[in-house]
């Protein structure tokens, strides 16, 4: 650096950067480092004294069957929401691809769940799922199917939470795909049609590769969202019955804000962060192979 340090310029840069950077450091970056530190302690929130206990929180976590249950639930919830949301989003966007009179109303309806508070609609779904007088079982009865206990049974509770989550996010994925489909170059379709391709071949050879960046982006976003799902679980099931809908995030909430076991809770948070990082990296590697920019 032979150039003289330009104080004036530095100040103007700081004036633009600091207002956002300060809260970012205080409420995002520092807390993550602090969580890492706390995960090596036995702090219980109440007492001012605590000691560093090394990896004990992690070791007891990895011995806890609750943790593996939560890990499994997180996995099922992730697979059960990400795949249907993305597949459903593509299908809906394809159905809406060619404009027709009144297609706006479908876009409006399909996207509307996304803007409503998860808490309010989860309360409505609680009522829908009511085993005795809820409409969900009335519909099953109408279709001559056996009634379900929905959120009251550990066999169906996860399914119930997954349905609500898909219901809420389907329109969101659809909107991304509608825009992505508009951007596919027309010439590609024309060339494909000249080759005499049918509609499935057209989707496989032209549409699917062209929208792969959107798919990649949506997989990451919906996956991160599924790892962070809380509102609908809190309203519908509180992680129950008997832990059947307790995901890692919900376990973190219970350990931290119900049991005040801050060491264990932050250990779960760190595991959650590691999972997110690993999945993101995996997807970046995979995207090199099959995402066509």
């Amino acid at each position: 650096m032979s150039r003289k340090f330009n104080w004036k310029r530095w100040c103007s840069v700081m004036a633009f950067v600091i207002p956002a950077l300060l809260p970012l450091v205080v409420f995002w970056i520092y807390p993550i480092l602090r969580s890492l530190y706390l995960s090596f302690t036995d702090w219980d929130y109440m007492s001012s004294e605590y000691s560093i206990i090394g990896f004990k929180n992690y070791i007891s976590l990895f011995k806890d069957t609750r943790f593996y249950e939560a890990l499994w639930n997180t996995f099922i919830f992730g697979i059960g929401t990400v795949i249907p949301t993305i597949a459903g989003g593509v299908v809906l966007a394809l159905l809406l691809q060619k404009a027709f009179k009144g297609d706006g109303i479908f876009k409006f309806i399909l996207f509307s769940p996304w803007i409503t508070p998860t808490v309010a609609i989860s309360i409505v779904w609680t009522w829908i799922y009511e085993p005795d007088v809820g409409i969900a079982n009335a519909v099953l009865k109408f279709l001559h199917l056996p009634a379900l206990q929905w959120i009251n049974s550990s066999k169906t509770s996860m399914l119930a939470v997954i349905i609500v989550t898909i219901w809420k996010s389907l329109g969101y994925a659809m909107i991304f795909y509608i825009t992505a489909l508009e951007k596919v170059p027309k010439e590609l379709y024309e060339a494909n049609a000249l080759d005499g391709a049918n509609s499935w071949q057209r989707f496989r050879d032209v549409t699917f590769p062209s929208i792969s960046p959107t798919t990649f982006f949506l997989v990451i976003i919906t996956m991160v969202n599924s790892l962070q799902a809380y509102d609908q679980i809190q309203i519908l099931t509180q992680g129950g019955p008997s832990g059947s809908t307790r995901t890692l995030l919900y376990m973190y909430y219970q350990l931290g804000f119900e049991e005040y076991n801050m060491g264990q809770a932050t250990a779960v948070a760190i595991v959650l962060i590691i999972i997110t990082v690993i999945l993101s990296l995996l997807q970046f590697v995979a995207s090199k192979k099959w995402v066509h920019y």
Partner: protein
């Protein structure tokens, strides 16, 4: 030949409409069921063979307005969301401008940090953030809620994507003319990227208005609840749970309906903003 082609087209349109109608009914049904349930009596709501109330019980809504604190929660949410959004817009605009148009050491590192934070589960920060707010005596205050949420990483991304479309030459020309960065930002850059600001505003306003987990962790004072937390309290407390379903549904309707109406008028901005600015150029 032409005739067959036309029938084929009509056929596919019919199938498309049918599939869309099924998806549409599945999506809209919970809203419809919420509203019709809100107008029922306690006896009617327990009978699934009744779809519409015999006599709409508008009194259910009246009692929400007069006897429940739900409107107070709406006011809280409006107040907190407006202030939070104002700060998020200001701070986000400034840092996005710096990252795109200013040259300084550590610019790339700064952006990498912001990008890294975007991916991480926010909830992982909640325990230390809670302690920080407790140390600052800001638990149970709107100030605490607002300052802990005054930066939107999503918003910074959105604006960065938009700013990068502004020709660099324009900025340089304005600099040579002696304009300050502040002036360039508001006179040149912002007018050219207006739609991203609108998308940012709507998306983040809705997110903040609806937010539940973090606000419910740092406030237990019923007077300071946002709508989601307030609605949940109304749902589980006061003997409402299980017995007062019509009132619970009326409360949910009062919270949900204005948002649907707002969305009906602003749909274009959501749809363009969400689909368009993903940073993935196809």
């Amino acid at each position: 030949m032409e005739k067959i082609e036309r029938w084929k087209q009509r056929g596919t349109l019919a199938i498309r409409l049918l599939l869309l109608a099924i998806a549409g009914i599945f999506t809209i049904f919970p809203f419809v069921w919420m509203i019709v349930s809100a107008l029922k009596t306690k006896a009617e709501i327990m009978d699934t063979s009744v779809f519409f109330a015999k006599v709409p019980q508008w009194a259910n809504f009246k009692s929400i307005f007069s006897d429940s604190p739900l409107l107070h929660y709406v006011w809280n949410s409006l107040f907190v969301s407006t202030l939070t959004l104002a700060l998020q817009l200001l701070f986000g605009t400034l840092i996005a401008y710096a990252v795109v148009f200013m040259e300084f050491r550590g610019r790339k590192l700064l952006f990498a940090i912001i990008m890294g934070t975007y991916m991480l589960p926010t909830a992982a920060t909640y325990i230390p953030s809670y302690i920080i707010l407790a140390d600052m005596n800001l638990l149970n205050t709107f100030t605490g809620l607002i300052i802990s949420n005054c930066v939107s990483i999503f918003g910074i991304f959105l604006l960065r994507q938009a700013f990068m479309q502004v020709p660099m030459g324009l900025i340089e020309a304005a600099r040579i003319d002696g304009a300050s960065h502040w002036k360039i930002l508001w006179r040149v850059v912002a007018p050219m990227t207006k739609s991203s600001f609108i998308t940012f505003g709507l998306m983040n306003f809705i997110t903040c208005y609806n937010s539940y987990m973090w606000p419910s962790l740092i406030t237990d004072d019923p007077d300071k609840s946002l709508v989601s937390q307030g609605l949940r309290r109304f749902f589980i407390e006061g003997g409402s749970y299980g017995t007062e379903w019509p009132l619970v549904m009326a409360g949910s309707t009062i919270i949900v309906l204005p948002l649907l109406i707002l969305f009906a008028f602003t749909q274009k901005w959501f749809i363009n903003g969400i689909g368009g600015d993903t940073g993935m150029k196809g």
